[in-house]
C-alpha cells in the first residue's frame, strides 16, 4: 500500500537542493505564505519534518497541492533555505512514487506549441515522468 516509505529525507534533499539544517525555525516563511490557512502543514513545518524524516505525513497531505508555488517563502527566508523547493520535491516524489506518469515522450509532439519554451518541456518531462 504505502510506497511512500521508500522516499527518504536524503532523496528530498537531493531533488530540491535544499539543506534543511540551515533552518532556524523563525517562521518567516509561514508568516509570508498566502496559502497558510488552507495548508495542513506550513512551509516551516515542511523543513522541520523533512529534517526529522517525517516524509510519509507530508506525502499524504493535501498541503502539497495547496501550495501555490508563489515562492514568497523562498524569497523572504533569512537563511536561504528555500522551503518552496522542498515542497516541490515532496510533490515530485509523490508523482514519481505512484508511477502516475502524466507524460510520456510520445505525448510531446502534440503538446508542442511555438510559444512554449523548450525548457518548460524538459522540466515537465523531469517532473511528470520517472
Amino acid at each position: 500500500m504505502s510506497l511512500t516509505n521508500t522516499v527518504t529525507a536524503e532523496d528530498l534533499i537531493r531533488i530540491s537542493g535544499v539543506d534543511p539544517s540551515k533552518c532556524m525555525q523563525c517562521g518567516k516563511c509561514s508568516g509570508a505564505c498566502p496559502s497558510y490557512d488552507e495548508m495542513e502543514y506550513h512551509p516551516h513545518q515542511f523543513v522541520a519534518m523533512v529534517r526529522k524524516g517525517q516524509i510519509e505525513k507530508l506525502m499524504a497531505s493535501d498541503a502539497i497541492y495547496q501550495c501555490l508555488s508563489c515562492f514568497a517563502c523562498l524569497e523572504r527566508c533569512p537563511r536561504n533555505v528555500e522551503p518552496a523547493k522542498l515542497i516541490e520535491a515532496v510533490r515530485v516524489a509523490v508523482i514519481r512514487q505512484q508511477g502516475m506518469n502524466h507524460m510520456t515522450a510520445n505525448d510531446i509532439p502534440e503538446k508542442l506549441d511555438e510559444k512554449l519554451p523548450q525548457q518548460a518541456i524538459v522540466s515537465a518531462m523531469r517532473k511528470y515522468s520517472k
Binding site: C26, G27, G31, D37, N80
Partner: protein, 663 residues
C-alpha cells in the same frame, strides 16, 4: 660546525598520538652537527626546560632545535630557556610538528616521516644561525583614540587618569556616539543623556584629553610606541576658538532642508547647526551642501548675526601631524539600511521605523519632544508591532542581512515595549521574536517584566509581510506556538534592525594594518585570551568596533583596552625585533625599488664610500632603520640585485631548509 641539541616534545598525546616521537629523536641524532637528541612529555614544563638547560651546558650546545607546537605558542618560552643557560636566544629554532603535522595527519607513519623532515629542515637552518642582539626603541607617551562614542570616551578617561595624554579623534562634529541618541537604557531604564553627558564633560575638561572633533585619520606611519598620524580636521566653517555655542546662527539660518542626522533624518535642521544641546565641543558647524552662501554666494545671515565673529566661510581642511605610542580603535556602529527589507514596507510608509528612529521619537529632546505619535499624521497610535532580528542571523548566501546576532536588540525591544506600555497603557504592543536572547545580569528579569508586568504580547514567530493599507499597516506573521498565521492592523511597526560596523572601518583597518573579519568588525589578537588587542602591535580595540555589545560591556572593554594602553605607555623603551633587513653594500646599487615596497617606510638611501674588488668610490646604498623595520621581507624579494637580506631568515637559511626538505 655548530653543536646542536634536538628536543622532541610529545605534547601529551597531542603530538605523540600521531607522531612516533622516539623515532624522530633517533633520526635527528644522525643529522650533521647534532650532538644530543631526546624526547619528553611536555618540553614547555619546568622539568622539560630544565632538561634543555642542562643539555646546553653539558654538551656545550651552540644551537637548539625544539620539535613542538607552533612558534607562536612557545618560541618565546624556549628562547628564554636558552638565555638562562647562556645561549643567544636566536640560536633556537622551532620545528612545528603539532599544528603543521600531528594535528592534520591521521596516519602515524606519515606523521612521523613529516616530523622528521621538519626537524631536519630546522637543523639545517640552525647551522646558519648567528647570534642576534635586539635593539630598543623609545615610547611616545601619548595615545590616540579613534571614535568618541562611549567606548572611546571611557578608554580616554581611563588612560588620562593614569597620567598619559590622549587625543580623541571623532569624525562627527561632537563626541557622544550612538549613546547620545538613546532615550532610556536597559536594564535599569536610566536616562542615557543623564549618564553620558557628565562623562563627555569630564573628557572635555580633563587636562590630559584633547578632543579633535569633525576629524578623521588621514594616514599613519611608524610602529608600536612610535606612530605618526596625520589627522584631517575637516573645515566646519566656524572658528572653534571664537564660537560660544550661543546658537543664534542656527536660529537665523533660512536654509531648512538638511536632514537632521542626530534625529535619524526624522526632521530637518539649518545649514548651520549644533547637533544637540549638550554637544561637545559646543560649537556650530556649517553643512556646505545645504548652505545658501556656498551655493549662491549670498545670504551670510549667520555671519551678520554672530556677535563672536566666528563664521569663517573660507576655512579649509587642516592636517595635523601628531605622534603616538598606542592607538585605540573605537569606531562603533550604525544600523543597517532597512530599505533592503521591502517586505516590511520601510520605504513605503513613514510609520515603519527602525529602533534607533524610535529612540529619537521617544526622546524628550527628539523631533516630537518625546511624544509618541505616528510619523505620517502625528496621531496617537493604538497598536504597535515590534519585529526583532531584522537583518540579523541571515546566512552568508542570503540576499541581504548579516550572519551574526546583533546581541542588543532583544533587550532594547523589551525596553521599548515597556516604555510604551508605561507611558501609554492604552497602546497594545506586540513583539515578534525568534528567540528572546537575554543573558546578562538582570537581563532576563527585565524581559520577563515586559511580559508579566507590562503585558506585552510576545509572539514567537516572524512577520512575513507588512502592507500599507488606508489608515493602518497590515502585519501578517506566524505564531509558531499557536500554530497559526496572525493578522494585526497596526499603527506603527518598529524594526529591530541589525547593526554593522561604521562604514569607515574597512579603510581604517587597512591604514592601521589591523585585521578585521568578513563583517568588518576588528579582530582581536586572541578570541579568549587577548580580547582587547588587535594582532597588530600597539593597536587596541574598544566597543562595538570589535563586535556587537551593549553599554555595560562596552564600558568594561573600554577599561580593559585602557589598561593595556597604560601598560605599554608605562614602558620607557621597547625591545625591537632583531630579525630585520639589511642591504649588502657590495651588491646594492641604490635602485630605490625596496623603498617603494616597504610598508613601514624603514628604508632610506645614503651615499657611501665603498671599497670592493668590483667597485671603489661613492655609491648610493639602501639603509634600513632597524627600529622601524618589522621584518616582513617585502624588500628582500623585491631587490633585483639580491642585496637585501633578512637577519634570522636569510636567503641562505631558507634555501638550506628547502634543500633539507627535498633531500
Amino acid at each position: 660546525m655548530q653543536r646542536i641539541g634536538v628536543f622532541v616534545c610529545w605534547c601529551g598525546s597531542n603530538i605523540a598520538a600521531t607522531v612516533d616521537v622516539k623515532a624522530v629523536a633517533e633520526a635527528a641524532k644522525h643529522e650533521p652537527g647534532v650532538v644530543f637528541s631526546t624526547d619528553y612529555q611536555y618540553m614547555c614544563s619546568e622539568n622539560g626546560q630544565a632538561m634543555i638547560r642542562e643539555a646546553i651546558k653539558e654538551h656545550r650546545l651552540t644551537g637548539v632545535v625544539i620539535c613542538s607546537c607552533s612558534p607562536r605558542m612557545h618560541e618565546a618560552t624556549f628562547r628564554k630557556t636558552a638565555v638562562s643557560a647562556g645561549l643567544n636566544p636566536y640560536m633556537v629554532e622551532i620545528a612545528n610538528i603539532r599544528e603543521q603535522c600531528s594535528w592534520i595527519h591521521k596516519d602515524m607513519a606519515e606523521g612521523t616521516e613529516k616530523a622528521i623532515i621538519l626537524a631536519r629542515a630546522a637543523i639545517a637552518k640552525v647551522h646558519l644561525n648567528a647570534p642576534l642582539v635586539a635593539g630598543t626603541s623609545p615610547v611616545t607617551k601619548r595615545a590616540l583614540v579613534i571614535g568618541g562614542g562611549i567606548a572611546g570616551i571611557q578608554t580616554a578617561l581611563d588612560i588620562a587618569d593614569a597620567g598619559f595624554e590622549v587625543d580623541i579623534v571623532e569624525k562627527a562634529p561632537t563626541i557622544g556616539g550612538r549613546m547620545a541618541q538613546l532615550d532610556k537604557t536597559f536594564p535599569t531604564l536610566d536616562c542615557s543623556a543623564c549618564i553620558l553627558t557628565p562623562k563627555m564633560v569630564d573628557a572635555a575638561q580633563h587636562e590630559k584629553i584633547n578632543i579633535i572633533s569633525y576629524a578623521e585619520l588621514d594616514s599613519l606611519s611608524g610602529f608600536v610606541g612610535n606612530f605618526t598620524a596625520k589627522i584631517r580636521k575637516k573645515a566646519r566653517f566656524i572658528d572653534e576658538t571664537k564660537c560660544t555655542g550661543c546658537g543664534i546662527c542656527t536660529e537665523k539660518c533660512p536654509s531648512r532642508k538638511g536632514l537632521n542626522d542626530f534625529n535619524m533624518g526624522l526632521n530637518t535642521r539649518g545649514a548651520v547647526y549644533i547637533p544637540f544641546a549638550q554637544a561637545i565641543p559646543n560649537v556650530a558647524v556649517i553643512d556646505s551642501a545645504q548652505c545658501i552662501h556656498f551655493r549662491t554666494g549670498k545670504c551670510g545671515l549667520c555671519e551678520k548675526n554672530c556677535s563672536a565673529g566666528a563664521i569663517k566661510f573660507d576655512q579649509k581642511d587642516e592636517i595635523l601631524e601628531r605622534e603616538y605610542g598606542a592607538i585605540v580603535v573605537a569606531t562603533g556602529f550604525k544600523p543597517i539600511d532597512a530599505s533592503a527589507f521591502n517586505e516590511y514596507a520601510y520605504s513605503d510608509s513613514p510609520d515603519v521605523v527602525t529602533s534607533l528612529e524610535f529612540e529619537r521619537i521617544m526622546n524628550a529632546a527628539g523631533p516630537t519632544k518625546g511624544k509618541l505619535v505616528r510619523p505620517s499624521d502625528g496621531k496617537h497610535p493604538h497598536e504597535i508591532v515590534f519585529i526583532q532580528c531584522v537583518g540579523s542571523r541571515c546566512t552568508e548566501d542570503a540576499t541581504k542581512g548579516k550572519p551574526y546576532c546583533s546581541k542588543i536588540c532583544c533587550m532594547y525591544t523589551a525596553k521599548h515595549a515597556m516604555l510604551v506600555r508605561e507611558k501609554y497603557p492604552d497602546v497594545k504592543v506586540h513583539v515578534f521574536y525568534i528567540d528572546a536572547r537575554t543573558p546578562g545580569k538582570n537581563f532576563d528579569e527585565f524581559y520577563r517584566r515586559a511580559v508579566e508586568q507590562y503585558d506585552v504580547d510576545y509572539i514567537k514567530g516572524m512577520v512575513g509581510k507588512v502592507s500599507v493599507e488606508q489608515d493602518h499597516l497590515h502585519v501578517q506573521g506566524s505564531d509558531l506556538i499557536n500554530n497559526e498565521q496572525i493578522h494585526i492592523n497596526a499603527d506603527m511597526v518598529v524594526l529591530a534592525t541589525a547593526i554593522e560596523p561604521d562604514p569607515t572601518a574597512r579603510a581604517l583597518g587597512t591604514m592601521l594594518t589591523a585585521s578585521m573579519d568578513t563583517n568588518d568588525f576588528f579582530t582581536e589578537a586572541h578570541p579568549k585570551l587577548r580580547p582587547v588587542e588587535s594582532p597588530t602591535a600597539g593597536v587596541f580595540l574598544s566597543g562595538v568596533a570589535q563586535g556587537p555589545k551593549d553599554i555595560p560591556e562596552t564600558v568594561a572593554q573600554a577599561g580593559a583596552a585602557a589598561a593595556k594602553v597604560i601598560g605599554l605607555l608605562c614602558k620607557n623603551e621597547l625591545t625591537c625585533n632583531p630579525c630585520v633587513a639589511h642591504a649588502n653594500e657590495a651588491l646594492c646599487n641604490g635602485c630605490s625599488q625596496c623603498e617603494r615596497v616597504c610598508p613601514y617606510g624603514a628604508i632610506t638611501y645614503e651615499d657611501k664610500e665603498v671599497r670592493s674588488p668590483e667597485f671603489r668610490g661613492i655609491k648610493r646604498i639602501a639603509v634600513v632603520n632597524g627600529a622601524i623595520c618589522q621584518g616582513c621581507g617585502a624588500c628582500t624579494v623585491t631587490c633585483p640585485s639580491g642585496a637585501m637580506d633578512l637577519k634570522g631568515f636569510s636567503n641562505s637559511q631558507i634555501m638550506a631548509e628547502v634543500d633539507a626538505i627535498c633531500r
